[in-house]
């Protein structure tokens, strides 16, 4: 197997708040191989965006980062801000959620590309810059006639294509795309997903695709990591995870998703937990239909189930489950009020 491009080990991110530290990312481990797309999926507040930014060293001041993000033999967590700054762009790219606010409205598209390429590849001639930029814009479906236009002259979908082109023009080996299609319409979303799907073919870029939409994961990703309350509770190949989810949260999330084949409504009782005082043991246990007595007592170990890695006591390891730990968890009824 090829070496991973990015290898994240036990990454933690926490913020200070009045009530104590918010553990937004709490011990996350994953690898990303060349040309691979990993979908990072979870509900709002599960820490997926924080994780995406943490990997690139783009956290706001006041956030603390610990663990390892290994890239080309270096741990980015301990690297100097200047060293990461140099990597961002030519090595590590980011595609934001809102293309409308991320392009400088006063600069022509050509100027934005020139600025980017001049900063990172000072040796390029003006002719080369133009050529490189137009080529990548064409791959994104932007006509070369629009190269000198301003951002406001483009529609939302076009701006997102330009943002993607701007990230790719430096040929980074790793890109984080944070909900890149959320603000877009159905047809445009499908177009952008198609473009991102072509990345590995045309650019050999590894992609961390952050989304709340399981349909998009099924469409665009090779592997998926399901996040809940700051942890990756299950990861594995998309086809396997979707066909045979091993973590109850993955299973319930898939069942709750309303798709064109939905004939009945299903939902997960309760609400996502508070990350300042998360539930003890497995964080999903208060909402979990399969919870056992061991679940609130001890943090689940990560176990391999087929090609998946899962954090759930249902899969053992048996020798660590205390006696009687497999009995169903008895708990108070969750009232409707709590679950809304």
């Amino acid at each position: 197997m090829t070496e991973p491009v990015i290898s994240v080990r036990d990454l933690r991110v926490w913020y200070g708040s009045e009530r104590g530290p918010v553990r937004a990312v709490d011990g996350v481990t994953f690898d990303l191989r060349p040309g691979e797309t990993l979908g990072l999926v979870g509900e709002s507040g599960c820490g997926k965006s924080t994780l995406g930014r943490g990997v690139l060293g783009l956290l706001p001041r006041g956030a603390k980062l610990a663990g390892e993000v290994n890239y080309e033999g270096r741990n980015l967590v301990t690297a100097s801000p200047k060293a990461i700054q140099r990597l961002r762009g030519p090595d590590l790219g980011l595609i934001f959620q809102e293309p409308l606010t991320r392009l400088n409205p006063l600069l022509r598209i050509s100027d934005q590309f020139e600025e980017t390429l001049r900063t990172h590849e000072p040796g390029l001639s003006k002719q080369d810059i133009r050529h490189r930029s137009i080529e990548v814009l064409r791959a994104m479906g932007i006509p070369p006639t629009r190269y000198r236009a301003y951002p406001h002259e483009f529609s939302g979908g076009m701006r997102q294509r330009i943002m993607i082109a701007l990230a790719l023009v430096l040929r980074p080996s790793f890109v984080v795309a944070d909900e890149p299609t959320t603000a877009l319409d159905v047809l445009v979303e499908a177009q952008i997903i198609g473009i991102l799907g072509d990345l590995r073919r045309n650019f050999d870029t590894s992609l961390l695709f952050i989304t709340h939409n399981l349909g998009i994961v099924a469409e665009a990703c090779d592997r998926v990591a399901v996040m809940y309350a700051g942890r990756i509770v299950e990861q594995g190949p998309v086809t396997e995870v979707f066909a045979r989810p091993q973590h109850p949260y993955t299973r319930e999330l898939l069942r709750s998703t309303i798709s064109l084949s939905t004939t009945g409504l299903h939902y997960i009782p309760g609400a996502p937990p508070d990350l300042i005082e998360p539930p003890s043991g497995c964080r999903f246990h208060p909402r979990c239909p399969s919870a056992m007595r061991v679940c609130p007592e001890q943090f689940p170990e990560q176990v391999e189930v087929g090609p998946q890695r899962v954090e759930c006591w249902l899969h053992g390891p048996d020798e660590l489950v205390p006696e009687g730990g497999r009995e169903p968890l008895v708990r108070e009824e969750i009232t409707v009020a709590d679950e809304a």
């Binding site: 080529e135 349909g215 009945g264």
Partner: protein, 438 residues
């Protein structure tokens, strides 16, 4: 697990008078250009947000208004409650025409017509506790005599929307609630005066996946128990399919297809509806969204395409769909995306003038000077390269006329709604007089 309730439509019911009837409704916004244009007066541009919509809303049904942003679905929904002033047309509700009523009178009618907003975090006043916020409509419409009575009504309504025990919620502020709880509170405020119609504008799109179904279920329950009629505005086809009895697909201010949900999803007739349905990513990783989806995006509503608004993106467009000069320019842009910089450098000087013509002409005449023959040859080459581009069906003739090149398009026809089975669809493909060979 609740399943979708069957809508019983007996002959007597369908003959019943509709709850609300929308006839030829238009909501246009004038755009004023420069200060000079204002001084000189004259016609500014007009955005036709809603451009001639006819719908009869049946009592007790859930009607979905489905479309992308810019389709006019939200403007239409707001117009039904008199929150947007229509430019023309009628909204008949009982003996009233909401399109013509003064604001003062509309206010009393709104007790019966309510709205649920998209963003529950923005729809509640952050400094108002739930008892005050949800009881507010009661005070506005003077439906209660005392504070205690209002509080009692709020208590009942909170129970009704599942915020129980109600006493725990009466004095809470919105910040203390989860997203789903806030949306329940917004729904409570909408139903407290006993409305007949709820317009719900993307009521679950801001909520987490795991709680969306709960709010939909609540709305279904309330619909049954309180005998509500819903207008459900959404861009999400999956929830529309589950929730609605009838669906109206909107594109650029018009309804392009309307009919029973079942038929629209099983057998979509408009190419736009077909495209939307194919574009929804499926949960099955083996079923990929096809790549041959319509190109581009919803065009500028201030300058809608000639003929059928969807024709520039439509893979099935043919002769009468409304071809015009802009489509020729778009064809060249696609060509240059495909062929790259060299082709652009070679061809743009020739084509340049072709695109600087009035957008609505069904004929383009370019004085190409000495290069008329070259331009004609380029057009023929472009056609030979992509003969299946629907544009060429719309090009009637390319002629050299002295020193000029003339491109003539076939006359475009604005499609009206046609009945096909139980569905009305605005597409020439379904007009036997126009599409005999398609």
């Amino acid at each position: 697990m609740p399943t979708k309730p069957e809508l019983m439509t007996t002959p007597e019911q369908s003959a019943e008078r509709p709850l609300m009837e929308i006839r030829d409704l238009k909501v246009h916004y004038e755009l004023r250009g420069s200060a000079l244009a204002r001084l000189v007066g004259g016609e500014g541009e007009t955005v036709k947000a809603v451009d001639g919509v006819n719908v009869a809303l049946r009592k007790g049904e859930v009607l979905g208004l489905v479309g992308e942003s810019g389709s006019g679905k939200t403007t239409l929904g707001r117009a039904l409650l008199g929150l947007v002033r229509p430019t023309s047309g009628h909204i008949t509700y009982g003996d009233l025409d909401l399109a013509r009523m003064p604001q003062r009178q509309l206010r009393s009618v709104r007790r019966r017509l309510q709205m649920v907003f998209q963003d529950p975090h923005a729809a509640l006043n952050p400094s108002m506790d739930l008892a005050t916020a949800i009881g507010h409509p009661l005070r506005i419409h003077k439906l209660v005599k005392s504070k205690a009575e209002a509080r009692e009504r709020v208590r009942e309504t909170l129970e009704r929307v599942g915020l129980t025990p109600a006493d725990q919620f009466l004095d809470k502020l919105p910040a203390e609630l989860s997203g789903g709880q806030k949306q329940r509170a917004v729904i409570a405020r909408a139903i407290i005066c006993g409305p007949e119609l709820l317009v719900a504008d993307e009521p679950i799109s801001m909520l987490d996946m795991s709680v969306r179904a709960k709010i939909l279920e609540l709305m279904l329950e309330l619909g049954r128990d309180l005998d509500l009629t819903y207008v459900y505005i959404t861009h999400d086809l999956a929830t529309a399919k589950f929730f609605c009895d009838r669906v109206a697909i909107m594109y650029l201010g018009r309804v392009v297809e309307i009919g029973p949900t079942e038929e629209i999803f099983a057998d979509p007739k408009h190419p736009y509806t077909k495209a939307l349905l194919r574009a929804v990513p499926d949960l099955d990783p083996e079923r990929k969204v096809p790549r041959d989806l319509p190109r581009g995006e919803i065009p500028d509503a201030a300058a809608p395409p000639h003929g059928c608004s969807f024709h520039p993106r439509c893979p099935f467009a043919f002769e009468p769909c409304g071809w015009e000069a802009r489509d020729l320019r778009a064809m060249f842009e696609r060509r240059w995306i495909r062929l790259g910089e060299d082709a652009l450098a070679r061809e743009e000087p020739l084509v340049g003038e072709l695109t600087e013509v009035d957008a609505h002409e069904e004929m383009v005449r370019v004085r190409a000077g000495g290069r008329a023959a070259e331009l004609t040859a380029l057009l023929e080459e472009a056609r030979a390269d992509e003969p299946d581009d629907p544009l060429w069906k719309g090009v009637e003739r390319i002629e050299s006329d002295g020193g000029a090149v003339v491109v003539r398009f076939r006359p475009g026809i604005d499609p009206g709604l046609l009945r096909v089975n139980a569905v009305d669809v605005a597409c020439h493909l379904h007009d036997p007089n126009l599409s005999h060979d398609h």
